[in-house]
């Protein structure tokens, strides 16, 4: 806001209009500034439970009636997407796709879009991200009551079913196909798609500033209502929920983290987290504790954070650096924080028990 204001002042000085118009312009500018700094319209917030997590959406920059209506639309959309994309909702597209494995199954446009983007990232990452990981996710049950360490035989059998190259989508026909025995799981991408859909709906409703928080996946519209970028804390992978090790500034963008601390269980002193490596069938052990991706699309950031975590620091950074407008923050088990060059200005490490490693 203030930057736009100064641009306007410069324009006034350069074109030298009459004194009255200059004063009027300045007063209007100050009024706008006062509106945004002191008496901005009250932000409207709502929370709900979808995709196994708590979702909070805050909007401002519009009247509160318009804000409430936009929130209604966003939360009905979340409900619809959960019914279509969740692997654990009976009768969802993803559930029916698994039940009908072996033949083409008609699915919603949402499922087609997410599956086709998921296969794109499976291809791009050589299967580090694989939406056919369903049998392994179900076997481990991490995050459910039935979480357990499977036997090697069980893992080998489940792993044999995980292969995106034996699955496909036909967008023209409106169908998707898995091979016999395969099951899809969109847990690594569906929340990102839901965030993008929330952003699209709010944008179309004319909402100027919004903060969408899907259980720690962040999407923003505009900047802070009072001016400047949103300030997003980076969760401390070794700390309590809400402890952060640095601050990331975002305007009109999204940040998604995959962290070993998010969902896990412990057995005989070993921690098993939910980021399963399709190539081993076990939780990924890549030396990383979290990967945060900053990108224009939350769908892409979601898939990429999972893939980069599984690939590890070297290959993960190479992957991120090969993509336009995409940045990342990697946190390693030995408390190093690796930041891509394009985030050097917008990310500040605030916890000196970590070591910053620039690319």
């Amino acid at each position: 806001m203030s930057r736009a204001g100064f641009a306007e002042l410069t324009w006034n000085a350069a074109t030298r209009p009459g004194l009255f118009s200059r004063v009027a312009g300045t007063a209007a500018l100050a009024a706008v500034l006062a509106l945004f700094m002191g008496c901005a319209p009250k932000p409207v917030s709502r929370a709900g439970f979808f995709f196994g997590t708590v979702i909070e959406v805050t909007v401002s920059g519009s009247g509160s009636a318009a804000g409430e209506a936009a929130l209604d639309a966003v939360f009905s959309r979340f409900e619809e997407l959960e019914q279509r994309l969740s692997a654990t909702v009976a009768g969802s597209d993803v559930d029916r796709l698994g039940d009908g494995a072996g033949e083409a199954v008609a699915v919603s446009d949402d499922a087609l879009r997410v599956l086709s983007r998921a296969y794109y990232f499976a291809e791009l990452t050589g299967g580090a991200f694989d939406p056919t990981i369903g049998p392994l996710v179900a076997l481990w049950g991490i995050g459910s009551d039935g979480a357990r360490v499977p036997s090697d035989e069980e893992i080998t059998a489940a792993r044999a079913l995980v292969d995106y190259r034996r699955a496909s989508v036909d967008e023209a026909a409106g169908t998707a196909t898995l091979s016999a025995g395969q099951r899809a799981d969109l847990g690594g991408i569906a929340k990102g798609y839901a965030a993008d859909e929330a952003g699209r709906i709010l944008n179309e409703a004319g909402i100027g500033h919004a903060l969408v928080n899907l259980g720690g996946n962040i999407l923003t519209l505009g900047g802070r209502p009072e001016g400047g970028p949103w300030r997003i804390g980076l969760q401390d992978p070794f700390g309590e929920r809400g402890d952060y090790i640095g601050v990331l500034e975002i305007t009109d963008g999204t940040a998604v983290t995959s962290g070993a601390y998010e969902r896990y269980f412990e057995k005989d002193g070993v921690r098993y987290h939910h980021l399963l490596d399709p190539s081993t069938g076990y939780p990924a052990r890549s030396g990383l504790v979290s990967v945060t991706i900053v990108a224009p699309s939350s769908t892409d950031a979601d898939a990429l954070s999972t893939a980069a975590f599984i690939l590890g620091p070297e290959e993960g950074i190479a992957l991120v650096e090969s993509l336009a407008q995409t940045g990342a923050i990697f946190v390693t088990e030995d408390r190093r924080v690796i930041v891509t060059v394009n985030l050097a200005e917008s990310f500040k490490l605030t916890d000196d028990t970590y070591t910053l490693q620039k690319r």
Binding site: L9, N12, A13, R16, L19, R22, V23, T26, A27, L29, A30, L33, A34, M37, G38, C39, S45, R46, A47, G48, F49, G52, T53, V54, E56, F75, D145, L211, N213, G216, N217, I218, R224, E226, W230, R231, I232, G233, L234, Q235, P237, E240, R241, G242, D243, Y244, V247, L248, A255, V256, T257, G259, Y261, E262, S290, T292
Partner: protein, 128 residues
């Protein structure tokens, strides 16, 4: 370039601008003063049902029932926690005391959440 063309009218504009900017800044500060205490928000079935300033909180326990479960929330000056819940995983109870803006204790099966927020928080949200 701009300096050489600086005239009396421009000085007037600059003074007016500076005054208005200072006034706007002061208004913003006044609007935010006293609004920086951590606030606990209890969310049941997606709606905020209680908003409690944690600095002024008394030691007490409140019970919240959602469509899917019941949670006992314990307040103390400066902090809050989910003390008991009838959910199977007890993740919310194991979260323990929370006190800083950005922290939350969430019972996903029971659809009850306690989040701590503050207007003058250093950050708007936590990614992770």
């Amino acid at each position: 370039m701009i300096l050489t063309r600086f005239k009396k009218g421009d000085l007037f504009v600059a003074v007016v601008t500076a005054t208005l900017l200072l006034a706007a800044g002061a208004a913003a500060l006044i609007a935010r003063a006293g609004a920086g205490d951590p606030v606990a928000i209890v969310i049941v079935d997606g709606a905020a049902v209680d908003i409690i300033n944690l600095r002024d909180a008394r030691a007490e326990e409140r019970v919240y029932a959602s469509a899917l479960g019941t949670c006992a929330v314990a307040f103390e000056p400066g902090r809050v926690r989910i003390a008991a819940a009838d959910c199977p995983d007890q993740v919310c109870v194991h979260t323990g005391w929370i006190s800083r803006p950005g922290q939350s204790a969430v019972c996903v099966p029971g659809r009850v959440a306690v989040v701590v927020r503050g207007d003058r928080a250093e950050v708007d949200a936590i990614v992770g």
